[in-house]
Symmetry: none
Subunit: 118 residues, 10 copies
């Protein structure tokens, strides 16, 4: 797992914090490595969140997602790690991440997790 | 952001203010500029509202939407700005704006916000 | 707006007023004029109602709908006017009109309004 | 309207009256005449009912539906008449008839009515 | 109607009676005879049930369904008879049978019935 | 039935037990043998679960699923056995298994069962 | 068969005989009678033709098609008769008629015939 | 195989033998028996032909198709037999029969054969 | 590869060798083993052939296909082997086999080969 | 570009070189780097070939494709390089590679190239 994602992930001030609104992002180009074999894994990520004080800056998100390219991790750990990192920098009111992994060993896996802000 | 949209946006009197009814508009031809790179962004806007005393005049809405062509702004800021401008001139009972932005950096973004009148 | 639609619209006695039942009509051939440019607008109307003492006669409805051909009116005004006229002659228990207007200036507009009888 | 449908419609004893169950029929081949012009009208009928003591015999239903071939009637009257006749001979616990009429004068009409047994 | 289906239908002990679970079967190859004309009727059967102590053995179900090949019966009677026979041998916690019969006389018929265990 | 699946199935520690999240797996390559004829059966398995302390390791799941290749079992028994084995090693908060078996004797069978953790 | 269709069918002069162009008509409301049982048959007619000196007048075509309402005829004879009548009055360069009859006795029949002008 | 289908199959004189035209029939309700197991087989037949002097009468075709209900035959033999019988009585200019059999032993079979008249 | 498939594959005499006709079979339940890892592979086979003197008997084909269950072989070798065996016993005028293998290592493989009789 | 792909790519002897047959592979998990920005590119590769003396071994192909993960190259260069490498080791009678690259800068690019053996 990336030990410190914050240097990559950037935010900007939510331009309308007085309002609950939803940001949805679909990221079909996620790839990381299998922790057992070192072979590449591929997934499509879907992120939904209601920002509080910060929004996630798009280009830094792209770089953050790209930073997993040489990182090994179980599907479940990677999904929760990304959700945790994004929630840590954006401190959203609500956030959900769904990761649809490509078939491995004849098995298709999807992991879906939510974060609820205070 | 356009500093003063009101000169562009026009309204006309709601012909039936005694009744709650819904106006839905789909605007597939929105373009603005990326605030970081200056490159063009494209989006489809979907607007729903229940008018109170005013309806938004269609041609002025087209011109207003077109006025973003050379304007730079984050997806979140642009969406909230448009919602805010439209709500300011029409003072609707309810309004929702959904902006589906085209892929950038391999990421598809949608921003959705609501305004509730008094 | 047509100043007096009643001479065109005809009704006949509801053959089964003892029962609540629903009549749905889809009218894909509505056209009127843009009040600003004089150019033709096109819409599909969808009408649902529960008749009380009267049903709307089909041919007179066709003639009434056709009478808007040379009439100018904003989308919102035209939709509410038609709903008002139909409700005035049929005095239904419930009526809803949805008007899907064709794209103008790159914008697709739908107006939907309801009437509730006493 | 057919003055006396009962001679055509036949029923047989519900083989399982101790149980509430549903019979659904779709009849795409209904035709009658327009009462104003004498021209043919066409419709698809959809019938749902929960039988009580009687079920409607299929061939007699076909002949009954066919008996409207030379009968004139408004859409609303025909639909209610058929529902009334079927409910009169079958005395069902519940019955609903939906008639989707083909386009006339550029207008598509659907009439839907229900009968509730005692 | 088959006078005694039990010799054909076989069951086996539900391997997990401690748990409510659902078995769904789709049987597109049902055929019987019209009781009035002797001509063949065809239907697709859909069976859902929650087993209690017994499950229906697949091959015996196929033979039981095939045993209607030379049997005459109204749609309603056949459907209820099959539901009754299956419920009698399997004594399920819940069972539903839906029979979609092919068109006859221009009319498509579906019969749907449920059984609730004690 | 495999007498002892645990030696095959492996788990790893849930990296985020503090959070309820969902893992969904689709396994289209399941095959076992018919207990009556010895002929092969084929199914698509769908597994959903909320992990507690353990996640099921993907490769061991593939091997476990593959271990049924030469095992005979009724559809109902196989489905419940797999659910039971997976629940026994992973002790999830919730788990559901749906097995869609290929057609046999003209009949399509689906078995669906759930496990609820303490 | 109607003994003399010409009094019903009317034509008008092809406004552009110097050009080969195609006219296509779809007529979903055709009904006639079965010559064996007297029961109604239903079909959708599709007509394609390249006019020479005459075009078929629309309302007269509707009346002509409607004139089969009480006429008995085999599917093949009716289709060829209609093609023959239409070709006789319009003398087209090319004409094709396809009649899709509704299911009878579990069999769906389509008849397709062509006429080639001199 | 039925030893003598001709007594069932009837023809009528082609009303328009001067013209090549096509008759297409879809027959989704074919069933016969497996010659090895005696179990029922099901198929959808598709017949296309250009008649010469005779057309196949619809009701006799339905009875002929139904006469296979208790007949055993390999898919290939049944398909060729039906094509042969139909060609023998109708003596068409061209005929094609396609039989889509339902799955047996996990295998879906289609047999397609043509007849060319002299 | 199975060293001698002929004992499993059976044929019967083509009932209509005087005619070229086509037999198409779809076999979605093929499984064999990977020659490198011993892990199962899955494929859907599509077979088309024009028989000469022999047809392939369906049940023996099912058993033959099933005989690969414990056999290891590269996709290319297995496909050619099956085509070769089927062509050897049936001696068809033409035969084509297409094998669609399930994804392995993120790669979907299809092998298609033809046999032309003398 | 990888300077020497041969050590990764492996082949095995074509089991049926006496026959022209086709192998098709779809590889949706290709990723490399943009030579200008160093950012990841993604593509789906489609490979068709007719083997001569050698077939490409699946696992080595997967590793070869994966070896581009850290390689920078223009879309056109990468596609031709892969085709060249595969053709060099397999010496096929015919080979075609189509690379569908994901959108970049709002532009979707596909590169398709062929190799013809001697």
């Amino acid at each position: 797992m990336p030990s410190d994602p914050s240097p990559i992930l950037e935010t900007f001030e939510n331009p309308n914090p007085e309002r609950d609104y939803t940001i949805r992002m679909e990221i079909p180009e996620f790839t990381c490595l299998c922790p057992k074999t070192g072979q590449p894994d591929f997934a499509t990520l879907k992120l939904d969140y209601i920002p509080d004080r910060y929004c996630i800056e798009l280009k830094s998100l792209k770089l953050y997602v790209g930073s997993y390219r040489d990182v090994g991790g179980f599907h479940e750990a990677v999904t929760n790690q990304i959700l945790g990192d994004l929630a840590a920098v954006a401190e959203p009111r609500y956030m959900r991440l769904t990761a649809h992994f490509n078939v491995r060993g004849g098995i298709w896996t999807t992991v879906e997790a939510e974060h609820h802000g205070q």
